[in-house]
Symmetry: C2
Subunit: 393 residues, 2 copies
């Protein structure tokens, strides 16, 4: 196994009525003037925003509001948020929403706390040295951004989607109330489950390191999410299933499921990022649409892990050759995706890409990873193109 | 499942040569004048202390030293540490050692940062409102104190052993270098594994809450520690086994394995605390000496959990009545304890207690928990006495 760092300072407040603790938590972390950042109007229509602003009003905490964070959140709104924070002398960010609002808030936080263009960080030109303190009220279990160090922003010009990771961006607190996710459309719930699982799978399919305890946690997490994702297909208001998925979402991306390995593979995410940038598809669905093709392309180079995955996660019988067991595991995962109505190729995703589109995505993807990336198998631009072509359906 | 808080801010630096990062980490968390607190001379004889003080010297960080923290660390040394810190204007604590040094350092930290007698906190009279910042270089995998909020101190007068838990006492950083544990006596390694497992088992055997994801993590952790504890019986210098056990020690007591339940049972720990106070036995061995008796006394009142434990952790075949399966699981755990040479009763522990001793311990134990405690089964003084009597062997 490899050496590792583990740092998850986010204070998690999990359960019923937890949004009512927002003001107390903001004060605890030194906030006096807050930017409340959110996405669409659902957090307002649901009454959540009023409950939050009521507790801020009662505590005498001032705030300004900025909505409009969209899936694959845009750089333009980040710039707008930075200006607003500077103008209003905001000293604390409160993201109310899912990964889009949180990622957008993190980018705003970097932009306020550092000189120069915030896009520099996402464009790998320099590193942030600070971030405005951030709190989260989570309404979608998916990206794990509430406990992770990462955020993903899309630049409108050229639809360039890039991620940036820094401990400075980790939230000070995360309020998690499973009921808030009960009214999500089924498709979005399933996308969230797919995304949650992929954060652990990216860390799991590696050729370097690996730690038994990390594997045991990863496998237990994947089995738990699968079981509860299937429950939520039929019972979207099942509290316990919502809670299991929500907590799994945080643990899956806070670093816990990668301790001791080489950092993970992450190529499925990178392949999806270009899809998401170009077609604006839901992130989770984009992931499942390319994963099977990626897995078939790389599994022979990472056979022990794919075999272990098949047996310990997908409950595949350990008979046959290692390759047969591994392939059966990949097929079982795709069958699970279909059960929760997630696509297993681009066609099912609703993307009718020309070969020119695939060539362009492979090129942008290769540039985005500085030429090559992957631990299960190191992939170059030609490999990325081959996987995109396999995934057309 | 129940609502929960999860807060593990400790920055973990895990792996080879990590002690060389001590100065950088102390600076990162604002330390300028350090009290290095340790136990016996082994950390000096091994050369560890010199490597640590060398990096502090190189960084220009001043320090004073205080050794002498013993297993079941004493209040007298805590008072001495508090005086030393005040006199030397210490602003950061560095514990180099295992649970004894860390717990003692936490108590010193509370004593320096709060007015009045530090024993008040351990005597449940009032709550700490701060703690001097603390870093840890861990040399024994056992108590999990490096990431936990708890510390246990023994008052010499009457040998009263009490624990105090507060987020203020959580370490700012924990340096974990598995090699440092390779030279431990086999008995101490086994005691550590027993203690690590018990921190999760205390959280697992409950009648309230329970969360599938938490259970999956707990069960995976217990299986991992058992497997690697058996490896260490034969190969005490196996790096990977040392690392698995060390990381499990932190995760087992940082809160992760209790999310969603009612807080846990903790009576095995409370029963052992009186043993440890009176006879000064090794904590891990004291735990295994009473666990089987506790389990047999309570399992019918917590049957679903004991059955699940038998099947998912102890690999017991799920045939027979629930009671039979549960009992077989308890026996399998005792058989494991014997394999790692841990006692399963007081006689094997080397404690030849009179019935008067047991009566005294049961009384002190009941007073310590304000009359009654336990989730698997609520225990009163008479129950505690019955368990002590069962455990005589």
């Amino acid at each position: 196994m490899f050496d590792f760092r583990y740092f998850t300072p986010t204070k998690v407040i999990f359960g019923k009525d937890t949004e009512l603790q927002a003001a107390k938590l903001i004060r605890e972390f030194g906030g006096n003037k807050v930017l409340i950042h959110y996405g669409g109007g659902s957090v307002i229509r649901s009454g959540l925003m009023k409950r939050v602003t009521d507790v801020l009003d009662d505590a005498g905490i001032e705030y300004v509001m900025l909505g409009g964070a969209v899936p694959n959140p845009r750089l333009g709104l980040v710039y707008e948020g930075i200006e607003l924070c500077k103008k209003e002398k905001v000293d604390f960010l409160l993201a109310v929403g899912g990964g889009s609002a949180i990622d957008s808030a993190k980018a705003i936080g970097y932009g306020v706390a550092n000189e120069g263009d915030v896009w520099d960080f996402y464009d790998y030109k320099r590193k942030a040295e600070a971030c405005l303190p951030l709190g989260v009220i989570l309404t979608i279990a998916a990206t794990g951004s509430e406990m992770s160090d990462s955020s993903v922003i899309t630049k409108e010009e050229g639809l360039v989607k890039r991620g940036y990771s820094s401990d400075f961006g980790r939230a000070k607190f995360a309020i998690m109330k499973p009921e808030l996710t009960m009214t999500l459309p089924d498709y979005q719930t399933a996308c969230g489950c797919a995304d949650i699982m992929m954060h652990t799978m990216e860390r799991y399919f590696t050729n370097g390191g690996n730690m038994e305890l990390t594997d045991a946690i990863a496998e237990g997490l994947l089995r738990t999410v699968m079981k509860n994702a299937l429950i939520l297909v039929k019972e979207p208001k099942n509290y316990d299933a919502r809670a299991e998925v929500m907590w799994a979402g945080s643990l899956s991306h806070n670093g816990l499921t990668g301790c001791g390995n080489d950092g993970g593979d992450w190529m499925t995410h990178k392949l999806e990022h270009e899809l998401g940038g170009l077609y604006d598809v839901a992130h989770g669905a984009g992931l499942t649409a390319v994963w099977g093709s990626w897995a078939r392309y790389v599994y022979k180079d990472c056979l022990p892990r794919f075999k272990r995955f098949a047996v310990n996660v997908m409950n595949v019988s350990a008979s046959g050759t290692d390759e047969e067991i591994a392939l059966t595991g990949i097929e079982a995962m795709e069958a699970f995706y279909r059960k929760i109505k997630m696509p297993t190729n681009l066609k099912e995703l609703g993307v009718d890409a020309t070969d020119e589109d695939l060539v362009e995505m492979a090129h942008k993807c290769a540039v985005g990873v500085s030429g090559s990336m992957g631990s299960a198998r190191l992939l170059y631009e030609e490999d990325m193109l081959a996987i995109y072509r396999m995934s057309r359906g």
